[in-house]
Every structure is written in structure tokens, then in C-alpha cells.
């Protein structure tokens, strides 16, 4: 019994981190109808930035986020200005290709800078763990880092929620999400909103990357696995839906962890992908997605 509870708890905790990364992706899609394939590479870049500050300046991983989050935000805005804004027609389709190209460039730069050997992040809370009591059986041990990163994700997701639903900027952003043209007509500067949204969507990868980097050694090529997971999460939850990103991440991680316990770790992703395909047969738009209307 304990192993199932452990699997579910660990799944929920790491699901929070994925929710953070996926919400960035979903936010960008919701506002701009852009699929940012580079999100996976950006997460890895975020992890390497944390590694850089940790290794060279001995900055604590969480304190380092104060530096890496703004850096990634600026990078996101730059990417938006350079390669997303010039796209005029078939933006969704071309955005996939363009951001794929950006992902390749990021991966190339990472390989040249950090080589293809895996690195890992170090801190006292990565190795230390606390016992979590009983449930009528043996207690199990949870690494501190899982709890810390989950808390971090909650704080950042809460901040995102506050930004979206409690501020003037969020109101404009949601207006752009609902109807780009109408938002422009009532005087919202949609281009500026888009740039900032892209920046925010990329900025969350700094935290996501740090959290990802603490779970295992990583190398530049890990971005492929990551982006496929993130894409699957937002397709499952419904593209452009933040609730969907949250539910999708929790489903992915909990199902994956439980499969790993019940069956075998090698099957955890396969089972999830299988479930996703089964779901899409009945709901092509995902759990919270809106059915795609006819577009002229």
C-alpha cells in the first residue's frame, strides 16, 4: 500500500513542476496561437544556467533563480521579436518550424559550451530526505528538493494566476486570448502583450529547468524527451488552457509513477502515451480545450 501512496505523492509533487513548464507553453499558445517547440530546449538551458551559477559563483539554486528568471524572460522577449513577430501568414504552422530551429540552435550552443557529458546540480537538499509517516505501513522517504520545488511551482503558478486574473495586464492578456482582433480594436497593444507573454512563458522554464536538473543528471539532448512530454501534456489538457496544463501534468506524472510501481519503469511513458491516444479518439480537443471552429 505504501508504495502506491508514495508513487502518487511523488507523482503529484513532480507533476507540479511539469505544470509550471507546461503552463508557459499553454499560455503562449492561448494568447498567440504559437506552439513553442523550443520550450524543451529552454528548460534545459534554464537548468544549465542554474548549473553555471552554482558551479562558478557558488550561488544557491533557489537564489540563482532571481538571476535566471529575468535572463530567461529577456531571452523570451528577444526570441519573440526576432523570429515570431515577423511571421505573417499561417503563424501556427510556421511557429512550430521556426521554434524548432531555435531549439536546434540552443542545443547546438549548449553542446559547444557544456559538451555532451551529463552534469548534475548539487545542494544539501537534493540528497537529504525526510520520512513521511505511515498510512498504516512503513514510512517512506521524500527528498527535500521534491517538496521545495513543488512549493516553488505553487508559488509561481499562484503568481501567474494573480497576474492573469487580478491585474490590468492580465485582463488585457485574457482579452487577447479570447479574441485578438477585438482586443486590438478596443485599444489593447496586442503586440506588446504578445512579447511579454512569450517572455513570461519562457521565464517559467528557468524555474522548471532548475527543478528538472535536480531530479537527474542532464545533457543538451534531453530537450527532446522533455518537449514531447510537455506537448503531450498540453494536448491532453487542451491547448491554451492553464487548467488543462495543470491537470495534464498531474495525470502524466501520477500515471507514470504508478505504472512504474505496478508494472515497470520502462513502460511508464508508453502507458501514458497510450492513454493519451485513447482519449484523443473521443476528445480530439483535449480535456479542457475548445473544439476548433472553422477558420476562414
Amino acid at each position: 500500500m505504501t508504495i502506491y501512496i508514495e508513487a502518487i505523492v511523488v507523482g503529484v509533487l513532480s507533476g507540479g513542476v511539469y505544470a509550471l513548464m507546461a503552463s508557459g507553453l499553454s499560455l503562449i499558445f492561448g494568447v498567440m496561437e504559437i506552439i513553442n517547440i523550443a520550450q524543451g530546449a529552454l528548460v534545459i538551458l534554464g537548468a544549465y544556467l542554474s548549473y553555471l551559477f552554482m558551479q562558478n559563483y557558488h550561488i544557491d539554486l533557489f537564489a540563482g533563480l532571481l538571476l535566471t528568471i529575468p535572463i530567461m524572460f529577456v531571452l523570451g522577449v528577444i526570441i519573440e521579436l526576432l523570429v515570431i513577430r515577423p511571421l505573417k501568414r499561417e503563424r501556427t504552422m510556421f511557429s512550430i518550424l521556426v521554434t524548432y530551429a531555435v531549439a536546434l540552435i540552443i542545443e547546438g550552443v549548449l553542446i559547444l559550451t557544456f559538451t555532451n557529458t551529463p552534469v548534475s546540480l548539487h545542494a544539501w537538499y537534493i540528497t537529504a530526505s525526510i520520512p513521511v509517516g505511515g498510512f498504516g505501513g512503513q514510512p517512506f522517504y521524500l527528498p527535500y528538493i521534491d517538496i521545495f520545488t513543488f512549493a516553488l511551482s505553487l508559488v509561481l503558478l499562484g503568481g501567474l494566476y494573480w497576474l492573469l486574473y487580478r491585474t490590468e495586464f492580465g485582463r488585457s492578456l485574457r482579452a487577447s486570448m479570447q479574441n485578438r482582433t477585438a482586443a486590438e480594436l478596443i485599444g489593447i497593444n496586442v503586440e506588446r502583450i504578445s512579447a511579454i507573454t512569450f517572455g513570461i512563458g519562457v521565464a517559467v522554464t528557468a524555474a522548471g529547468g532548475m527543478a528538472f536538473g535536480t531530479t537527474r543528471p542532464f545533457l543538451p539532448g534531453d530537450s527532446y524527451d522533455l518537449i514531447s512530454r510537455l506537448l503531450v501534456i498540453i494536448v491532453l489538457g487542451g491547448m491554451g488552457s492553464l487548467r488543462g496544463a495543470l491537470v495534464g501534468s498531474l495525470a502524466l506524472l501520477v500515471i507514470g509513477d504508478v505504472t512504474a510501481v505496478v508494472w515497470s519503469p520502462v513502460w511508464s511513458s508508453t502507458v501514458f502515451y497510450g492513454l493519451l491516444i485513447a482519449l484523443l479518439l473521443f476528445r480530439p480537443q483535449g480535456i479542457f480545450g475548445q473544439r476548433e471552429g472553422r477558420k476562414q
Partner: protein, 410 residues
């Protein structure tokens, strides 16, 4: 032209001008194609027998054929499939498994020998090629349920689903599903007894045969009612459905056809390397390389994907030698080469990405459609210079006719 005016006859229909342009283009195409075919046939033994060049030539033909096959589905229907390596890898694995189980080809344990088929004597080394179409069929069969599922979705969701399915297959191969793939250890192909420089030639001609076949199918699709249906799907799927195009069947069949070719190409590729691994058979870089080639040459055109493949492979060939020289001469490059242990894959990725961006922003329609546009507008300008007497209306009608001709050509 003047005589028409004098006789007070209407100026000749300007659409004829565009029609003439089309005929000229067609002649150019056929002559060019035949010339290319002749060059391609004599290329390896005659012009350049050295192994490195023929190796690149095999890859160029491989990607040319693969991009053409990819274009049959993605170019004509507008559904960008970014997981085409799924079928490439499936074909490679299918051939490896068949050769192993049925003892075809020059096996490592000495089994498998020359075979006779329809009173033809086929040496053991060539026997695996007989199974290549079967490998393609298997890939096509695999594509059937995948396409059926994936094509429930549209546009961007479709792209995402194809990527997800691609990674499922990579995982399945790594997890040694049904004891077929032997996990990360990969599978061995039969070992051909050919020596260099001859070694590359059989693969070269096999790839060329597949390329010609793919091109023929692509040409047929482009000029058939079936292809018209596919193009209608690209332009407006709901309207096509309303007009009676069986969109589901059309999309799925095109998907399977293109997967069939990808499977054959993957099988030949696997045999040429003598072994196949999950990471190399299901390589995400190949997914994007295909799209890059097709976009660069011109999505939905016949010659575009091949042109794109030739340019990218040629660039790769030159890039290697340039890089080696640069690393010897430029201090900062030498440093990074030492840092990455001589690993140049970083540079590859950067160049690929940058090239892709350049193509999308400078030639969003691809090389072939852009050239065609220049050619047509040059014709239009020339006819205007030569026929200053035609009426103003005709002058205005010409660009319209040209545009219509372009649209018909895709």
C-alpha cells in the same frame, strides 16, 4: 501584335501567354529531369568513385527520396507530419528482423546464401534488397492505425500528435517490445561482402530506384483527381468535404503511401549501415531535416524536395571540410573543438537551425515556387515591352492570368 490592332481584333488572350510559360516550364522540367537521371545513373562509377563522395551521394538520394515521399502527404495536404522517422525506423527494423529470422543475406553465423527466384540467381549480398518492398509494406501497415488516430486532429494538434507517436516508437524500440528490437543494443543486418569503393554503389542505385519511383508516384498524384482532392484539403478542408471529397480516406491513403516509401528508404539505409539502433533509426533530427528540405525547395512541388535535399546534403559535405580548416586556423574554434572532444554536432545543429530560419524568412514559399514566380513575371514584363500597343485592360489582365496559372501549378 500591331496587326491585331490594325484589324481591330481583340488582343490575344493573355492567358495564352501564361499557358506558353507553363509549356516552357514543362519542357524545362522534362529535359532537366532526364539530364539529371542520366547524370545520376553514371555518377558514382564514372565521375567520382571515392568513398566519401559516394557516401554523401547515397545520403543525398536517400533524403531526396524521403522528402519526396514526405511531400506526397504533407506537401499536398498541408498537414505537416513531424514524426516521419517513425516509418523510416520501422522499415529499418522490419528488414533487420526479417533478414535475421529468415536467414536472408550474408549472415554473421554463415547461414543464408544465394537464392533463386523465378529462375533468377540472386547472390546472397543482394537478397535483402528483395525484402525492401516488404519492409515498406510493413511500415505502411503500421502507418494505417497511426494515421487513423492522428488524422482525427487538425493542423497544429496533428503535428503534436505525430511528434508524440514518434517518441512512443523510439521508446518501444528501446524497451525491446515483443523481443523484436533488442533494446538499446540494436540489431545487426547481414554483412555484405562488398569492398570499398564498390560498397556504396548497390545502395546508391537502390536509393535512386526508390527516388524515381517516389517521384513517379508524386507526379501521378499531382496530376490526378486524387491529388486535386489532396490539394483541396490543403486549401479548405471543410469546403472540400462539403464538395464531396472523401477527405478522411484521401488523407489516410496519402499518409500510408508516404509511410510506405519512408519504410523502404529506412530499410535500405539500415542495410547500408549494417546495424540499427533506436537512437539512429528514430532520430528527431531527421524529422526536421525533411521539413527543412521540403520547405527550402518548395512545399507541394515535385522538384522542390529533391532540390532541397541536394542543397542541404551538399552544404553538409562542404561544411565538414570548412569546419576542419576553420578549427585549424581560428583559435576560439580550436578551443571549443577541444572542449567538446572534437564533437562537431553542436555546429551542425546551429547551422541547421540558422539555415532553416533563413529559408523561412527569405524564401517562405521555397526555391522552386519563387523561381517560377520570377520566370513568369519576367515573361510578363517581356511581353509588355514587346507589345506596347496592347490595351490597358490586357496589361492588367496579365498578372491575374499569371497568378491563376501559378495557383494551378501550386
Amino acid at each position: 501584335m500591331k496587326i491585331f490592332n490594325a484589324l481591330r481584333l481583340p488582343a490575344p488572350n493573355t492567358a495564352d501567354q501564361a499557358g506558353l510559360a507553363k509549356v516552357t516550364i514543362r519542357i524545362f522540367k522534362i529535359v532537366g529531369l532526364l539530364a539529371l537521371l542520366v547524370i545520376a545513373l553514371v555518377f558514382p562509377p564514372q565521375i567520382s568513385p571515392d568513398t566519401a563522395t559516394t557516401g554523401i551521394a547515397v545520403l543525398a538520394l536517400m533524403f531526396g527520396a524521403w522528402a519526396t515521399a514526405w511531400n506526397i502527404f504533407s506537401g499536398y495536404t498541408g498537414y505537416i507530419a513531424l514524426g516521419h522517422a517513425t516509418f523510416f525506423g520501422s522499415g529499418a527494423y522490419a528488414l533487420a528482423i526479417m533478414c535475421q529470422r529468415w536467414h536472408i543475406g550474408n549472415q554473421l553465423d554463415g547461414s543464408g546464401g544465394d537464392i533463386s527466384l523465378l529462375s533468377l540467381h540472386i547472390p546472397a549480398d543482394y537478397a535483402p534488397f528483395l525484402l525492401v518492398p516488404l519492409a515498406g509494406l510493413i511500415a505502411g501497415l503500421i502507418a494505417l492505425p497511426i494515421g487513423w488516430i492522428a488524422l482525427h486532429t487538425r493542423r497544429h494538434t496533428f503535428i503534436v500528435i505525430t511528434i508524440a507517436i514518434f517518441f512512443i516508437f523510439q521508446l518501444l524500440a528501446e524497451n525491446n517490445i515483443g523481443n523484436l528490437t533488442d533494446g538499446t543494443k540494436g540489431l545487426e543486418f547481414p554483412n555484405p561482402s562488398w569492398q570499398y569503393p564498390f560498397y556504396n554503389f548497390p545502395f546508391y542505385y537502390a536509393m535512386l530506384a526508390i527516388l524515381v519511383l517516389a517521384l513517379a508516384v508524386s507526379w501521378w498524384v499531382r496530376h490526378s483527381k486524387y491529388g486535386l482532392g489532396l490539394l483541396a484539403i490543403r486549401d479548405d478542408e471543410d469546403r472540400a468535404l462539403g464538395l464531396g471529397v472523401k477527405t478522411g480516406l484521401f488523407k489516410l491513403s496519402a499518409f500510408v503511401i508516404s509511410a510506405f516509401f519512408a519504410g523502404m528508404i529506412g530499410a535500405v539505409w539500415g542495410y547500408s549501415l549494417s546495424s540499427v539502433f533506436p537512437q539512429s533509426a528514430f532520430d528527431p533530427l531527421n524529422d526536421i531535416t525533411l521539413a527543412l528540405m521540403a520547405f527550402m525547395g518548395g512545399l507541394g512541388t515535385l522538384a522542390g524536395p529533391i532540390l532541397g535535399a541536394l542543397i542541404v546534403e551538399w552544404a553538409k559535405l562542404n561544411f565538414d571540410s570548412v569546419l576542419v580548416r576553420a578549427q585549424q586556423n581560428l583559435p576560439f574554434l580550436r578551443h571549443s573543438a577541444e572542449g567538446s572532444g572534437g564533437d562537431t554536432s553542436g555546429y551542425y545543429l546551429i547551422i541547421y537551425g540558422a539555415l532553416f530560419l533563413v529559408v523561412i524568412f527569405l524564401l517562405p514559399e521555397g526555391i522552386v515556387p519563387t523561381l517560377r514566380k520570377w520566370w513568369l513575371s519576367w515573361l510578363a514584363r517581356r511581353s509588355r515591352v514587346h507589345a506596347p500597343d496592347t490595351t490597358e485592360a490586357a496589361n492588367q489582365a496579365l498578372p491575374v492570368a499569371v497568378e491563376q496559372a501559378e495557383q494551378r501549378e501550386g
